[in-house]
Symmetry: C2
Subunit: 219 residues, 2 copies
């Protein structure tokens, strides 16, 4: 998740930023705690000092991960996202007014913001992609193909994808039901587009062929 080599924290600790740095007050959260939730809470800006937090959109039933924030990342508590500590963490907070007055002039700070926002934006596009494909089959195929492209291992029978996910988890990922995904996977296997070799392990003989099955909804 890094563009710039330099770490923002180190940057801010340099002597010339002493006054600026002092405007930040440290806070600690323990694993699982929420730094912010949509709706309630103050309007603050925070910088990650240590640990990792997860940023996600949450609805009644579903959650969508937007990204993980690590040391040096900047984010706000005043968004419609949930921000949850994945482990015990420390952050530096300041209110928006102070932040805008003092820190927006610092390119390191704004560059960090651009980096974070850019990444979250990118994942949010992916989420939209996933939601737009109307039928479950397209989404399932897209997920499998995507996984194959990212983590697939070439083998003699085809590309081996080892997501160690049960059908149920797969279903949740594509926003469908266990039963439907089970049937869909069965169909793909019967069509020879997919081979299952154990729980959560798939082999794709022909990726392009598989992809051509999903989403090509000519009207």
């Amino acid at each position: 998740m890094k563009f710039l080599e330099e770490n923002l924290l180190d940057h801010l600790q340099r002597p010339e930023f002493a006054d600026l740095f002092s405007a930040l007050s440290p806070r600690a959260y323990s694993k699982g705690a929420y730094l912010s939730q949509p709706g309630h809470g103050e309007n603050l800006i925070f910088i990650m000092a240590s640990g990792r937090v997860r940023v996600y959109l949450g609805y009644e039933e579903k959650e969508f991960n937007l990204g993980i924030l690590t040391k040096g990342d900047i984010y706000s508590t005043h968004t419609r996202t949930f921000v949850q500590a994945l482990e015990d963490i420390e952050i530096l907070v300041t209110d928006v007014a102070t932040f805008r007055r003092n820190m927006v002039k610092d390119p390191e700070v704004t560059a960090a913001m651009v980096r974070v926002l850019g990444n979250i934006l990118k994942t949010s596009f992916s989420i939209i992609d996933g939601l737009v494909f109307k039928d479950a089959n397209s989404r399932l195929v897209a997920l499998l193909a995507g996984e194959a492209r990212k983590h697939g291992v070439e083998s003699e029978a085809g590309i081996k994808v080892s997501t160690h996910l049960s059908v149920e988890q797969l279903a949740r990922l594509v926003g469908s039901s266990r039963q439907t995904v089970s049937t869909l996977l069965g169909d793909l296997v019967r069509a020879g587009l997919l081979v299952r070799s154990g729980r959560g392990i798939f082999i794709i003989p022909d990726l392009l062929l598989l992809e051509s099955v999903g989403g090509v909804e000519h009207s």
Copy 2:
């Protein structure tokens, strides 16, 4: 869409940025032309000099507006979004490497990027919100209520919303069909939650009541 008062263009034209400014080459596009489309094209950064462009996500059938860029806004051609000129426009372009080398150190530039990304991110959250509600009724109600909150005018019979949209356009916005939306609107009127007073004009007697009908899917 502005945070900072100062205009980026003026900022860049000040003498101390002469060399930086010269790294930007001007381009013009006429109304309706695409500055970039997902997939093809170069990887450039551009700054709006004049006119307005629309940034949107496009799929086979649907489009989602992400925002409008105006003078001083910065964006990239290398995204999964479409960028289309809404009128005759002028922009200043540079390649990513140059941009990163010269301009990322300028807080005005990065602040402009933060502003643009932040806004696009916010609308993309709204898009996700809209897509997550599974049933057409929730989405329709959410749209109407949202519109009422933003552009509604108080009147004696309730809040008057004058979206001059046909049922068909409304349908496209909520990702449903003309017929379904027609029926749904009829239901709302029959339930007394909505009054239609002419094409594309609605009166909402009780906004809270209307909102309570959409989306409250207790399980």
